[in-house]
């Protein structure tokens, strides 16, 4: 456990100056700021629709959720899974990392958990900034009446689903980036996978849930379909379970690859 903890601290220490780390903070900051700016500058148009506070929150939240689920999140996850391992490929440091008196599993698990944490931080910031900016918008445009509805449940459920649904992509891309040091192979496969995921999810292909890359889009689609109680949708739906199963199997597979990996 100590071995895992120090490996995790080291992952943070060495990546804290890299784009992979800062992207987790800057991405939500930029996307949420742009959306809020749009809602601020177009307030007259939006007010003309006379949305009730709940629907206005739903529209405001879905602006970032939809772009995240469809495109940004898969690409961010692909980039980040690549970066966490690329730091070792690029500097040729696998050999020193595995020559330290640490369990190989701890080194591997710390890298994986660090990648998961970065996704979690990114999505938590998305949820937090959406909530905060929504309330700042309310101060700037009091007619919005955003203070009359609490969107916490919508944000927590949606981003929890997005987070869990992204673990499948994360694990598969993590495995690729452990195996290959070059940028093109994992990015190329990830890119094709994401496009395929978007198409199969939007065509509502019945087996789309088996493709890890379509899971974030599917996770959000289902949340929107449930009309009974708009924001009270279950988190653990079939695509989330699929994502978790993928994540578990690929995590274990990755460890077997790493533990048998000869550092040439």
């Amino acid at each position: 456990m100590r071995s895992f903890y120090i490996s995790l601290v080291s992952e943070f220490y060495k990546s804290r100056k890299t784009l992979a780390f800062w992207a987790a903070i800057l991405l939500p900051l930029i996307v949420c700021s742009l959306i809020s700016f749009g809602f601020f500058t177009n307030s007259e148009k939006i007010l003309a629709y006379h949305y009730p506070p709940m629907l206005l929150w739903a529209r405001y939240c879905s602006a970032s959720l939809d772009s995240m689920g469809m495109l940004i999140l898969p690409f961010y996850v692909i980039f980040m899974a690549f970066s966490v391992n690329n730091i070792e490929h690029k500097n040729d440091t696998w050999k020193t990392l595995f020559a330290q008196p640490l369990h190989k599993f701890s080194i591997y698990a710390a890298k994986y958990v660090y990648a998961v944490l970065l996704v979690a931080i990114c999505l938590f910031l998305f949820a937090g900034l959406t909530f905060t900016y929504g309330h700042i918008l309310q101060v700037l445009v009091p007619q919005y009446n955003l203070d009359q509805y609490n969107p916490s449940k919508l944000l927590i459920n949606s981003y929890s689903k997005l987070f869990l649904s992204s673990l499948g992509i994360l694990s598969i891309q993590f495995l690729f980036s452990v195996l290959w040091s070059d940028f093109l192979k994992p990015m190329g496969i990830g890119f094709v996978g994401t496009i395929m995921g978007i198409i199969t999810a939007s065509l509502q292909w019945k087996y789309a849930y088996l493709i890890p890359y379509s899971l974030p889009a599917l996770a959000l689609r289902i949340s929107k379909v449930k009309k009974g109680d708009l924001f009270d949708f279950p988190i653990f739906t079939s695509e989330i379970w699929t994502s978790l199963i993928y994540a578990t199997i690929l995590f274990i597979l990755g460890y077997f690859i790493v533990s048998r990996k000869s550092i040439k």
Partner: protein, 302 residues
């Protein structure tokens, strides 16, 4: 086994069908500076990677301080500091941060970082990004990283690569200091004997994955048979004469004939014999091959 820091017993290692290490039996005594020599591609780095468990060795073939490596990976690695090939350094971190990161991984006090930087003369560049270091500075940082855990055994793979003459002397002195005053054991690989013959107490010569020689520097010298060089005016005739006298001639050039050196007395007799037969001898001298040539001879043999 008790006095050996490293012992490999008939170690074999293949990459696919290619044999890289063949029946290697290294014996590195505790407290020694073991010069691990061989030409490029001889298997030195592969051996070092096996000793670090980066490459999987068969069980019961590698022992570090008497413990089987595969069964005691973590305990063995705790005792080892290593510099393998080019120093593995995070280029986006400063020299100091690279050392702090290593301190984190080893669970040791971060105060060791500035101490190590001072030891390898990098204090002034501590806050410079390591990517901007020269090759020599990277090599020094690599050595600092290997030393930071105060390991009993140091594996240094061509540590003087890229260092200027001053840097080479400093590393040499550091190795002597570490073994004599701090009781460390050092295995240092090189493809140049001259580079380590002044510091190494023991030598292992490897070529094509096979150990060709292992022993102390003195034992290596014993392999080095002395020669007698005779400078004369009539080389061709003198050679003919010596052959008729059943005296072996190893080589000759326009001025000199080389024969095996047996003793001072025998050299005197040979001189008298040549002079009495009308040859003018302008000089007689004992020659030894330098170790570098001896090393080349040994590695040429297989």
């Amino acid at each position: 086994m008790r006095n050996l820091a490293i012992e490999t017993v008939g170690l074999n290692f293949n990459f696919g069908n290619q044999t890289i290490i063949k029946d290697l039996s290294l014996q590195v005594p505790k407290g020694s500076i073991y010069g691990f020599l061989g030409p490029n591609g001889a298997g030195k780095t592969t051996t070092i990677k096996i000793l670090l468990n980066l490459l999987k060795s068969p069980n019961d073939q590698v022992f570090i301080f008497g413990q089987e490596l595969n069964q005691n990976r973590i305990a063995s690695l705790k005792k080892i500091g290593a510099l393998v090939e080019q120093p593995a350094i995070y280029g986006h971190l400063t020299g100091r941060e690279n050392l702090i990161n290593r301190c984190i991984l080893l669970g040791i006090n971060k105060q060791k970082a500035p101490e190590m930087l001072a030891l390898v003369g990098l204090s002034d560049s501590a806050n410079k990004r390591a990517a901007k270091y020269s090759l020599g500075m990277k090599q020094r940082l690599g050595i600092a990283l290997a030393l930071v855990s105060d390991p009993e055994l140091l594996l240094l793979d061509e540590p003087t690569n890229g260092l200027d003459p001053n840097g080479i002397i400093e590393i040499r002195n550091l190795m002597i200091e570490l073994t004599t005053n701090h009781n460390k054991t050092i295995l240092v690989s090189s493809h140049l004997l001259a580079e380590i013959e002044r510091t190494a107490t023991h030598i292992g010569i490897i070529n094509k994955g096979q150990l060709l020689f292992q022993g102390t520097i003195d034992e290596l010298q014993l392999l080095n048979k002395p020669l007698l060089e005779i400078e004369t005016n009539r080389v061709a005739e003198a050679m003919e004469f010596l052959k008729n006298q059943q005296i072996e001639v190893i080589s000759s050039n326009q001025k000199k004939i080389t024969t095996p050196y047996i003793s001072a007395e025998d050299s005197g007799k040979l001189n008298t014999l040549l002079v009495q037969n009308g040859f003018t001898i302008s000089s007689l001298s004992i020659q030894r091959k330098d170790l570098e040539n001896l090393f080349l001879d040994i590695t040429k043999q297989n």
